[in-house]
């Protein structure tokens, strides 16, 4: 491949931003960017354009068709007339021979065949548009998941850092007390602290690696280089929306209107019907008008002026006509028609599956979102209790009336509680994003159904 081609490919592959890049990316900004530049969306858009081009291809059956050929060849001289039996060939004398033949055909009617084929291709293009919508909603849900995963890793790190400082100080003090043989610390206590430190180290590694990986994954979904720096608007996981989730019944109505699968099924049914019709008409003739012209010329042969004598070397023949063209293959046409009918059966089967499958998908997403909300509420209570445990154990240590064990156990409980709370919060946000997907929405539509506004982000 030439260097120019490689350079051109690299330029085409360079990350492009949807509009002016925001200074700080909110979750909706990320979704917007992904929908504009993600490769899967571009691929799906390409399929739509492919089928739109096929509609034009089918329609082109009615456009004029021109065929022509012209050539020049050397020819030796022959003298005489068509009536002579004894002609003279002069192989020392050569000259040009020119030939042109052309025909222009304009189809007038295919007796419904092209019309049926056009409808089938149009419905097929509509299916691809619905598939594009499906790619968009799934991508939006993935973007939200990665966005909140990144924030989760970022949110947990301050508490881990606080825990690390406290634990390291506790270990230092414990080591000193142990060396002094003060009686306050035994080997068991030191081992417990070391074990706790190793647990904390694992959380730290997960958070550090997780933050970087989630950031790279988010950049990839946005169609950016994985080392692109995205300044995220949220400093930490945002609070869960305090609105109750809408009733399931209202969401099922939204899904019945917005899920792209319904559009795919409806257009699929029409496409199968139209295709079957087109295949049944495959043996129909094509009515046309056509013009044809043939011209030959050479000075190396005598020109027969008599129109009743066929002269292939010097002639001008042409004319226009109307006619019918047949291309009969009944067995093949029948087989193709049956194949199209079978496609219709497949679509009918999918429709039956979707009638219960889509509501089940919505129900499951709704249940998961409700469950996540309740789990987060419980985890937040636990985290608050653990925080109080830590604070009051600390205050008891300040006055000297508390035990170091209570403080350390409080620290462990606080870290575990905080981690659980943040994980539950992440899942609550992700579940709401998945609910939007189940409804057939990206969440950034300019106009949303009223029931959807309560879902929040």
């Amino acid at each position: 491949m030439s260097r120019c081609c490689i350079a051109a490919l690299l330029l085409l592959a360079a990350p492009a931003l949807a509009e002016e890049a925001p200074a700080a990316w909110t979750v909706d900004d990320c979704v917007r960017q992904a929908l504009a530049t993600n490769g899967l969306v571009t691929q799906a858009q390409g399929r739509v354009r492919e089928w739109q081009a096929r509609v034009d291809e089918v329609r082109s059956a009615y456009w004029p068709k021109l065929q022509a050929i012209g050539y020049a060849a050397p020819m030796f001289r022959v003298t005489g007339t068509p009536a002579d039996t004894d002609v003279q060939r002069d192989l020392t004398s050569w000259g040009p021979y020119l030939h042109f033949q052309g025909s222009l055909v304009e189809p007038i009617s295919t007796f419904g065949r092209v019309e049926a084929g056009t409808r089938a291709a149009q419905e097929r293009a509509a299916i691809e548009e619905a598939r594009l919508d499906q790619v968009r909603t799934e991508l939006a849900a993935q973007v939200r998941e990665m966005y909140y995963l990144y924030l989760y890793a970022k949110s947990i790190r301050p508490s881990l850092a606080t825990g690390r400082r406290a634990l390291d100080e506790a270990r230092k003090t414990a080591d000193e007390e142990y060396e002094k043989a003060s009686g306050k610390v035994t080997k068991v206590d030191l081992a417990k602290l070391a074990y706790g430190s190793s647990q904390l180290a694992q959380y730290e590694v997960q958070a550090e690696i997780g933050e970087g990986l989630a950031h790279a994954a988010l950049a990839h979904l946005l169609g950016l280089a994985d080392d692109a720096h995205l300044a995220i608007a949220d400093e930490s996981l945002p609070a869960r929306p305090d609105t109750e989730l809408p009733a399931l019944a209202s969401l099922l109505v939204v899904a019945s209107e917005k899920r792209p699968e319904w559009s795919q099924i409806q257009h699929g049914k029409q496409a199968a019907l139209s295709l079957a019709q087109a295949e049944k008409l495959a043996n129909a003739p094509v009515a046309f008008v056509a013009g044809q012209l043939t011209a030959d010329w050479t000075p190396m042969r005598p020109d027969a002026a008599n129109p009743f004598v066929y002269d292939p070397y010097n002639q001008l023949v042409g004319g226009v006509a109307a006619g019918l063209s047949f291309d009969l293959d009944p067995a093949k046409a029948k087989a193709k028609a049956h194949a199209a009918e079978a496609m219709g059966e497949q679509v009918a089967g999918l429709e039956g599956f979707a009638k219960t499958g889509i509501p089940l998908d919505v129900r499951r997403a709704w249940d998961e979102a409700r469950q996540a909300d309740r789990m987060h509420a419980a985890a937040a209570e636990g985290s608050q209790a653990a925080r109080k445990w830590l604070v009051f154990a600390g205050s008891a240590m300040v006055t000297g009336t508390g035990e170091a064990r209570d403080l350390l156990e409080g620290l462990v409980a606080y870290l575990q509680g905080r981690r659980s709370e943040l994980e539950a919060l992440r899942l609550a946000h992700t579940a709401r994003g998945n609910l939007l997907r189940a409804l057939g929405l990206t969440g950034i539509e300019p106009e949303q159904p009223a029931a959807v506004a309560a879902i929040g982000r």
């Binding site: 949110s155 301050p158 508490s159 850092a161 606080t162 400093e235 930490s236 608050q384 925080r387 109080k388 604070v391 009051f392 205050s395 008891a396 300040v398 006055t399 000297g400 009336t401 508390g402 905080r418």
Partner: protein, 204 residues
């Protein structure tokens, strides 16, 4: 009838004036408590680590340490001798005073503070302060309870996320008393003061 009516009217009038005055006083106290809270935070924030002793003196004006330590020992107070009670209060006062001045000051220096709506509760005024330290993952509401003591508004209790520190001191000390007696409490307070003093000497 006229006399009774005018008497009733007088009583009602006086009551109304009294209520208005009480309300005005309460409002004034709320504003005063809010102002005192801000002043305390500003004072503690300005006193740097190197000026620890200076900060200790500054907090005396804001806290009712006598009341706090008395309340903390209240559940077992009747089981203590007068000398034990006084000694415990003195030691507890020194410890809590140090924590209030130095530890709180260090915290306020790095926290982002938002003052909440002040409210009256009986004879106290509660000032909520929302404190955030993102780097330490701290996000808590600390409530300072103010009351008139010796002609001045002073802090008589601090609550963390709605739970009283004084109440917790009461339970800690009661449990410690039940387990180890008065001598045990005095020993713990002694050890704590010694540990703090040793830490302070190490820093110098």
């Amino acid at each position: 009838m006229d006399r009774r009516a005018s008497h009733t009217a007088r009583i009602l009038g006086v009551s109304l004036i009294a209520l208005t005055l009480v309300h005005a006083v309460a409002e004034a106290e709320e504003q005063d408590a809010a102002g005192r809270t801000r002043a305390l935070v500003a004072t503690l924030t300005k006193a740097s680590g190197g000026e620890g002793e200076k900060a200790l003196g500054l907090v005396d004006d804001y806290f009712d340490f006598d009341g706090i330590t008395t309340q903390a020992l209240a559940p077992r107070s009747d089981k203590l001798t007068s000398a034990e009670r006084d000694e415990m209060r003195n030691r507890l006062r020194r410890i809590v005073r140090r924590a209030g001045a130095l530890d709180a000051g260090a915290f306020f220096r790095k926290a982002k503070l938002t003052y909440g709506t002040v409210r009256s509760e009986g004879d106290s005024t509660v000032v909520p302060v929302h404190a955030e330290v993102p780097a330490d993952d701290v996000d808590a509401v600390v409530e300072l309870r103010w009351r008139q003591v010796g002609g001045k508004l002073r802090i008589v209790d601090v609550a963390f996320d709605g739970d009283s520190l004084v109440k917790d001191y009461q339970n800690q000390l009661a449990r410690l008393f039940d387990k180890e007696g008065a001598a045990g409490i005095l020993k713990k307070l002694d050890e704590r003061e010694a540990a703090v003093a040793a830490k302070g000497a190490k820093k110098k």
